[in-house]
Amino acid sequence: MTVEWSRRRLGASLLACALAVVTFGGERAAAQAFVADVGVRHVPAQSGVLQAGFARVDITPPPGLGLQGFGPEGREARGFRQRLYVRVLALVDAHGQRLALAVADLQAISPGLHLKSVKLAEGAKLEFHELLLAATHTHAAPSHYFDAAAFNEVGSSLAGFDKNVLAFFAERIATALDSAFHPANLEPARAAWGSTLITGASRNRSYEPYLANTGLTPPGFPAPIGLAVDRTWTMLRVETLRQSDEKWVPAGAFSIFGVHPTIIPANNDLYEADLHGYVNRRLERFIDAEAKLPNDPQAPDPHPDDPRPHSVHLWANGAEGDVSPTWQAGTRCPLPRLRRGLRPSGARAPRRADHWEHPGATAVARCMSLAFEEVRRIGDLIADSAERLFLRLEPALSDTVTISRAFRALELPGHQRNGLQRLPDAPLAGSAFLGGAEDGRSRFYRWRDLGLFPAGAEEGAASRDVSNKDLFQRPKRKALPLLYGILAEGKLPTLAQLMVARIGGRYLVSVPAEVTTVASFRLTEAVRRAATTAGDSVARAVLVGLANGYLLYLTTPEEYELQHYEGGANLYGGQTLSVFEEEYGDLTRSLFASPERVSLAPTRERLHHTPLLPEPGRRSPGDRRILGTSCDANSVTVRWEDEAPGDLIPADGLLLRMTHIDRAQQRTVMWDDDLRVEVSAGRGGLFRNQNEWKARFFVEPLGQFEFTLLERQRQSGTTYPELNHPRFELRPFECR
């Protein structure tokens, strides 16, 4: 059930809202209370032109959470490598229309996180339909914050919903929103859209279903596997007016390109921003250089307190549902294998069960090392093209960009249109989903029950059930029928927050799902046709996936029919795409109507809280001290004692740096926000020091280094008191 109001009616009264809940909410109203503080405000623009503000806020949580995305293969995080951020671009046009574009280094967004972030961002004065919050889809970010319980329970090897994890991310996203919309940051701006093709960075990972498409297909269809993807990198370049000298300077950019950030394999056990993190960092330094801002980490202490770039680049994912980066096969680590294994046993104990033998450390180190190289290779390829595009856009910059958006929250189960039921009564996870996608097969891939009968944990025929009585879901085969009631029944997402935002000449089609290449083409075509019909003859649409929610995958009906991984994860069946085409068409048409079409988002249902985020204050903070250093052929490792993971929150600030001393010169070579630096914490245990931390720097261990633990201040707003650690140094040490 969806409740739709016009903007004018929205502003009428809260009573109308309550009446709508009673009138239209029906039985669902009890479980899903509607937002009460909705009201659409026109915030007067402070100038007659476009205004823009950027913000980047660290969201790297303490170690100890499960990494989301690889299902049972997703590890518990021990620490971090490339830090996780949320990046925000705030836009206000000359008419006061506001839009926040936010991209978080998370695996996905839940409607609850979207809503809570807006609510907490009191300074930004945003409405929920003014925020497009997307995830990069890194598979090395935490789980435990989803509204749909199944994602918390099966998305990682560590299960459970933790309200503190939800609050942790929502608070930091809200901080970023507040900062971007803060009057001090919101500056007169000019912007320009452009696009370029990037070839060689991505390929279609689900080629057989791609080839099965017979309906509307992109130009050039069918393309070879390396070209059977949307290769378009779309960018909105933004410059702001520097008050000090009244000059326009590059401030950042918002880009869209569809590819899975899954180069780092499932064996990784550190928070990691993967391909998107690497490209964002490169582009931010590039934009800083264009703006002639000091940002070079090689320079001697350009910003002693924070070496991170000033500029902000947001890379939102596009049509990435069936798109993998062009990683080499060697980046996939061996899967665990079920075999007789060594288990603790007494002299009189009975036989022990088989166990999963995990690949050895050497094998994992090999594939991880190759994966890092691939992040750099593919990331450089992408960043090179994006930088050239950024430069090309300068002549097209304009300060007359206008903004409009339409938003709708759609309850999917039993969805009807024109009196006809269009979607099934309940979502269904298919068995093809169990084996994992090509980017990261699960240990259950090609599983056989009793060693004989295919369990459907593979793509294709074994995962099809043509006798499925639910016509909407046919031919999907139900996953794990014996355990389905426990694992998935009532635990899958039911809410889709759909949004179309127009910024200048581009329509952003914000979809809460991973959309395949051809499905994306059909959706954007639906938007383009609707816009053209409404009078915009040069309409161009681009899809932003994984935005404002997460429904798993969205495929075409033809792709669904084959039941590959993406089809098995298309929860509402093959007709979902046509429903979405109609809905997005309606939303687009509403952009031209007055009033603008807006509907309300339900709040999330109550979930059982499982405390997973390390709690602060369990142990009194000890003095910092270096415990030891060591090195091997290609790295230097420093161990030190610090606060426990519950108190030392990585997101509160940078932690350390490594300086190389060459004769009289000192050169900072690394900070703890780098693909070449791994920071991890000791876990609690009888013989383990949970206050022990370890940093491994992948640097040639020749010469003298200086390791510095930075002074750290805790972010205000956290519930524990501020602590300042004095800066201290270990110098010099020499590894040979």
Partner: protein
């Protein structure tokens, strides 16, 4: 004797490895076996139902586990005049407990083990049971090859340095067929075991288990091991739960002591015997 036992425990603890603690990993668990008869080295020790609980704690050392275990055998009901019993006729209850230390570790494709075990008996000798005068100690070692998944041969040796003063050898092979279903990890095993007495037979002034020097028995037993999947354990934060079912055991008896299956005259010279059922539930925290 106490010093000798402590020395044996220490030897078992550091046996055959230069083991050094790596990541501290602990495991603890309990096993509960319910069996229709108590068989041990081919001998029928109790011909009625027995309950055999065990608890253990282990620490990971190097590539293996050092495990300490307490195990007990309890005879259900009271043995009748024709039955074999360790408790004593018309007695029942707790009859035996063992304390053991074992170190198991992997070396290439081999699993090597060494340990020490103390046998303590609490039956009533005056009623035909096994009493404190039977208390004894053994050290043991084993080698198992796991180079291939479907068959694992093993050789074990136990040496009693106390009351029995003799050695028992065992050769075993285990065939494995994984029959795992999604969410449940299970295997079917077919075990073949042969025993050989090398001093644990009857001799003057010592306790004994067997009559003669030489082969004692050969047994074939199917076993089903059913366990919750590791993924399911993680998902629901539950400990490792394993069910081991040995539905029967076929045994060719060779030594006259292994031929005894009851006190009835007709059961004194059985060439073969069958054990009906053994079920073990194991719960482990790792």
């Amino acid at each position: 004797m106490a010093l000798r036992n402590i020395a044996c425990m220490l030897v078992a603890a550091i046996a055959a490895s230069g083991a050094r603690p790596l990541a501290a990993q602990f495991a603890a668990g309990t096993d509960l076996t319910f069996a229709s008869q108590y068989h041990w080295r081919g001998l029928t020790r109790a011909s009625g139902w027995v309950l055999q609980p065990g608890v253990y704690a282990a620490v990971k050392l190097g590539s293996g586990y050092l495990t300490g275990e307490f195990w007990e055998s309890i005879e259900f009901g009271e043995a009748g005049p024709d039955q074999l019993t360790d408790a004593g006729f018309d007695e029942g209850g707790r009859t035996e407990y063992n304390l053991s230390v074992q170190y198991l570790f992997e070396l290439h494709d081999f699993v090597l083990g060494a340990g020490w075990v103390a046998y303590r008996f609490r039956g009533d000798p005056s009623a035909g049971g096994r009493g404190r005068d039977s208390d004894t100690h053994e050290v043991f070692g084993s080698v198992e090859w796991r180079g291939i998944d479907f068959f694992a041969p093993r050789i074990s040796v136990w040496h009693d340095y106390d009351e029995v003063d003799g050695t028992y050898l065992e050769a075993a092979g285990s065939f494995r067929v994984p029959i795992t279903a999604m969410g449940v990890e299970s295997s079917f095993y077919l075990d073949v075991v042969g025993g050989y007495s090398l001093g644990q037979e009857r001799s003057v002034g010592e306790l004994s288990y067997f009559d003669d020097h030489g082969p004692t028995h050969v047994a074939v037993a199917p076993t089903f091991v059913i366990a919750a999947s590791e993924a399911v354990e993680h998902m629901f934060n539950i400990p490792s739960v394993t069910l081991v079912i040995e539905p029967f055991r076929f045994q060719q008896n060779i030594d006259s002591e292994t031929r005894r299956t009851s006190l009835r005259a007709i059961d004194q010279n059985q060439e073969v015997k069958w054990r009906i059922l053994s079920i073990t539930l194991s719960v482990a925290l790792q």
